[in-house]
């Protein structure tokens, strides 16, 4: 009996993946149906697949501008986070300095702050400096949890690079910036890729802060979707199509980092 169970263990991932894919499949079929078909009866696949729902989204500015806004602040956030996290991670992995351990935990503690705590103060802060409803405001606000994570991941990857490389470069007469950009960064290329992936991911999936800090000009796609749910209520086909379109960028990004993703989730140190 137990032996049989162990033999069947390799089918577990298949069952698990089926469990993961079923709700996504359901979203996909709904996005290909008309509203009449969704509400009219129950069927496992669309009888007459239509791309009308996707067409609605891709031709209506109030829909597709949501995707553009989200993409802009996610990319901005990734660039800012990596630009400040790279030197900091280097400092943490190579040097001891006054208050280093406390600083590191303080940075991490921001990853632990519930976004609900920060929503209202962020709103007031960014309103008072005139950045409310701009992409840069959301990008800056998301650094709260992305910078600590990027520092943590990059520090893990950098600690895997032997210190002798730094010393050799110094003897060879490289200045620090040249050494860092020409020699060191290519060495931790996969680490930078993984950190960028995580910044992208957490900025892309976050809604509460992004929604609080925007109203019209920088409204993220996720917020556009919630408004549509409450206002027109029953446009299930378009809602499902919008959901499918939010999954696509993530799927593409995963494909590129698939060989490093496991190590990245372990924060670079296994």
């Amino acid at each position: 009996m137990i032996r049989k169970m162990i033999k069947n263990i390799r089918f577990t991932p298949i069952f698990y993946i089926i469990f993961l894919m079923l709700p996504i499949y359901w979203l996909l079929t709904m996005s290909l149906k008309t509203n009449a078909e969704i509400l009219g009866g129950f069927s496992l696949w669309p009888a007459d697949p239509t791309l009308a729902n996707f067409k609605t989204i891709l031709t209506d500015a109030s829909w597709y501008s949501g995707y553009i806004n989200s993409t802009i602040y996610v990319v901005l956030n990734t660039i800012i986070s990596l630009a400040v996290a790279l030197p900091a991670a280097y400092a943490f992995s190579r040097y001891r300095f006054l208050g280093d351990k406390h600083l590191f935990f303080w940075l991490l503690s921001n990853r632990m702050a519930p976004p609900a705590v920060f929503a209202l103060p962020f709103f007031q802060l960014y309103s008072s400096i005139g950045l409310f409803d701009t992409h840069i405001a959301v990008a800056l606000a998301h650094t709260l949890f992305n910078v600590p994570l990027a520092v943590w991941i990059l520090e893990g990857f950098m600690s895997g690079v032997p210190k002798e490389i730094d010393e050799t470069a110094e003897i060879d007469g490289y200045s620090f910036p040249t050494f860092f950009t020409r020699i060191f960064m290519p060495l931790i290329g996969s680490g930078i890729g993984v950190a960028a992936f995580f910044c992208f991911m957490f900025s892309w999936v976050e809604l509460l802060i992004a929604r609080t800090l925007t109203s019209v000009d920088a409204k993220p796609i996720a917020a556009v979707m919630t408004r549509t749910v409450s206002a027109s209520g029953m446009d299930w086909g378009v809602l499902a199509a919008a959901g499918i379109l939010t999954i696509v960028p993530g799927a593409i990004v995963i494909w590129f980092v698939r060989n490093h993703i496991a190590k990245g989730f372990a924060l670079g140190r296994v």
């Binding site: 390799r10 991932p13 993961l20 709700p23 996504i24 359901w26 709904m30 969704i38 509400l39 129950f42 800012i80 630009a83 400040v84 030197p87 900091a88 280097y90 400092a91 943490f92 992995s93 190579r94 040097y95 001891r96 300095f97 006054l98 600083l103 935990f105 940075l107 991490l108 503690s109 702050a113 519930p114 609900a116 705590v117 920060f118 929503a119 103060p121 962020f122 800056l140 910078v147 991911m201 999936v205 809604l207 609080t212 796609i221 996720a222 299930w236 809602l239 959901g243 939010t246 999954i247 993530g250 799927a251 990004v253 995963i254 698939r258 496991a262 190590k263 989730f265 924060l267 296994v270």
Partner: protein, 290 residues
């Protein structure tokens, strides 16, 4: 690795320090400010000391939200961690099978959180959802918008669906760092499957498991968007977790003082638990590198 003492390293850390100080300390001070003051509107504030903290810590509303939150985080950890380990152990180790597994499993992690809520909202509806419809056809009385138990089960299953892959990926990373020689030695010694797990695989996974538990605790304790979209905290208050209650209080009712005190207590709980975990992880690291 032996690290040199060098105070100039502060210059490298300075950009991060300034950026995070801007986006963390200023908002946090705003919260602290509100938590000790009261207002009758018109931007006039006066000092009330610890009154709001006393009120929050004694309020039935906070206690019940905290209770639900602890139960939710406990349930989610108790399901996701063992399940994640089990799936990671049974995954193919190399080749295209492993790549496909990793990509498909990571997919739920990259779906915006409100879309996760929407997906499950659609999936579990009785009239148009596959799950709701199937359960109704089987004669199961299931309605997550009316029945508190059904709502709880749906929220927990949704979280398992959303986040178990994180545990799987972490454990997979830990497992793939074990050299083949270990398994060959175990085979020669005639070790049982359980012994291999207990004495080779589990110790290697210990560190990543700590990270998994830490991340899952933090994120499940801060959960907001998914249950908000799925159940809106209902039926009644059955799935009103801490963040949902807090947003209701701060933005819905605009009770800034109590909401601020609530925020600080909430943050301190997460911080305390996470600090304990973090200390355990770093102490282990220090021992491992000796």
């Amino acid at each position: 690795m032996q690290r040199k003492h060098n105070q100039k390293a502060w210059f490298l850390v300075l950009p991060v320090f300034l950026l995070v100080a801007f986006s963390a300390i200023i908002p946090l001070m705003t919260v602290v400010n509100y938590s000790v003051q009261d207002s009758f509107g018109n931007n006039e504030f006066y000092w009330v000391g610890a009154e709001w903290f006393v009120e929050i810590l004694n309020s039935e509303r906070f206690h019940s939200a905290l209770g639900r939150q602890l139960m939710f985080s406990g349930l989610v950890l108790a399901i996701e961690v063992p399940l994640g380990i089990f799936i990671a152990l049974s995954m193919p180790k190399k080749g295209w099978g492993a790549s496909i597994c990793l990509v498909l499993m990571a997919l739920p992690l990259l779906i915006p959180w409100n879309v996760v809520g929407t997906i499950w909202q659609i999936f579990a509806r009785e009239d148009i959802g596959l799950l709701g419809h199937t359960l109704a056809a089987l004669g199961v009385d299931y309605n997550y918008t009316q029945d508190a138990v059904a709502a709880w089960i749906t929220v927990v299953v949704m979280d398992v669906w959303h986040w178990t892959s994180l545990v799987v990926l972490l454990c997979y990373a830990g497992l793939s760092s074990i050299p083949d020689a270990f398994y060959q030695a175990a085979k020669i010694d005639g070790a049982s499957r359980w012994a291999v797990f207990r004495y080779i695989q589990l110790p290697k996974m210990k560190r990543v498991l700590m990270i998994a538990v830490l991340l899952r605790f933090m994120d499940s304790f801060m959960i907001y968007t998914e249950p908000f979209v799925l159940t809106g905290g209902g039926p009644g208050n059955a799935t009103t977790f801490l963040s949902i209650d807090l947003v209701k209080m701060a933005i819905g009712q605009f009770d800034l003082g109590p909401a601020a005190a609530f925020s600080l207590v909430y943050f301190l709980i997460v911080l305390l638990v996470s600090w304990v975990f973090y200390t355990v992880v770093t102490v282990q690291d220090a021992e491992a590198s000796k």
